[in-house]
């Protein structure tokens, strides 16, 4: 009898998990939380100063393997679409900026790398996995959120970017 109740409770809990939307899904369609962070070059960058164009925010960490795979592909997107109005911002969430700076230099990414040492920005974006990519449209609204990275995701990003860049 008890075991049946336990099974029911488990099923109910599983249903709740499936039914409740993830925090990342909550972010979609919402205005992107504004932030200002220090960059690898030493300047401060603010998201709202890039509105009017499409912004791809990529949260990453030096200990994350898929981030290492993804970052050069994001750099390709940055180079290809920057003249069309794309800004790529890499937000690092490491506790120490030294390793992150070293990795960014090794990977030779040309887009701005920012440091979220206080983790305020990753909290406001409800970052739940590494890497975590957010696409913000010209109006400053979060349109696409993607967690993790697998080969082929870059094609999806390119499609989504083109759609947002073509938006009037």
């Amino acid at each position: 009898m008890r075991s049946r109740a336990a099974v029911r409770a488990l099923i109910a809990a599983a249903l709740l998990v499936v039914a409740s939307p993830s925090p990342a899904a909550d972010l979609q369609g919402q205005p992107a939380p504004d932030f200002a962070l220090r960059s690898l070059e030493g300047q401060n960058l603010r998201l709202s100063e890039h509105l009017g164009g499409v912004v791809l925010i990529n949260f990453w960490a030096s200990w994350c393997g898929p981030c290492r795979q993804e970052m050069p592909l994001l750099d390709e997107l940055h180079v290809k679409y920057k003249l069309a109005g794309l800004t790529v911002l890499g937000v690092n969430i490491d506790d120490s900026t030294e390793r992150a700076a070293e990795m960014a230099k090794t990977l030779k990414v040309s887009y701005p790398v920012l440091f979220d040492e206080r983790k305020d920005v990753s909290r406001s974006y409800a970052v739940s996995a590494m890497p975590f990519t957010v696409l913000v449209d010209r109006e400053g609204v979060v349109r696409y959120v993607s967690d993790g990275f697998k080969p082929g995701y870059e094609k999806r990003y390119a499609e989504q970017l083109r759609e947002l860049l073509n938006d009037e």
Partner: protein, 203 residues
């Protein structure tokens, strides 16, 4: 007298306001019924004896007095509600401004109120330029109870000869009744070729 009563009431929680509102509604209903009764009485006045006219007159005055009291109470409640939601007397705002800026390029400002960090703002190139052009930035807005408080402002940036510059300023604030505005002004001291941090309080 009025302000004293409001001051006393302002200690009440919002649930009490809700109760007072319900009471007020009841009083209004009562008033309406009394008004309706007095209206009916007026209708009968023509046929009523002349002696009763004095009674109706006093009833009319009572109704008017009651109506005035309800209006007063309503006004008092409105003021109280506004005071609780937007307590201007506890409001503190801190602004940052810059003058000339030859010896200092601001990078960030961190504010601590009574040893608790309340604001940390990073200035972008554009924002720093806006400050230099006369812009004033409100870096913090919050509530503070009356009494003495310590405000610590920590500025980071580039000082003379493009060197990293870090400077703290401690301000002892006395918060009285009414909103308090503090301006942190970064200016140049040409005689020492150094930046100067001036604190100005606005009441």
């Amino acid at each position: 007298m009025m302000s004293k009563r409001i001051g006393g009431l302002s200690m009440l929680p919002l649930t009490c306001i809700a109760r007072v509102r319900v009471m007020l509604r009841h009083v209004s209903l009562l008033l309406l019924s009394v008004l309706a009764l007095s209206g009916a009485a007026h209708a009968q006045e023509a046929s009523a004896p002349v002696a009763a006219a004095g009674d109706f007159k006093s009833l009319d005055q009572e109704v008017q007095a009651l109506k005035k009291e309800v209006l007063d109470l309503n006004r008092e409640l409105f003021v109280l509600e506004e005071e609780l939601l937007f307590p201007a007397n506890t409001q503190v705002a801190v602004f940052v401004s810059m003058d000339v800026g030859e010896f200092f390029a601001v990078d960030s400002v961190t504010l601590k109120l009574d040893n608790k960090e309340v604001a940390n703002y990073l200035y972008t190139e554009r924002e720093a330029q806006a400050l230099l052009k006369g812009g004033v930035h409100r870096v913090y807005l919050g509530n503070l109870k009356a009494g003495d408080h310590e405000l610590i402002a920590l500025f980071t940036g580039q000082g003379p000869h493009v060197r990293d510059y870090r400077r703290g300023a401690t301000i002892n604030l006395t918060k009285g009744v009414g909103a308090k505005y503090v301006e942190l002004k970064i200016s140049d001291r040409a005689s020492k070729a150094q930046p100067e941090f001036v604190v100005k309080e606005w009441e």
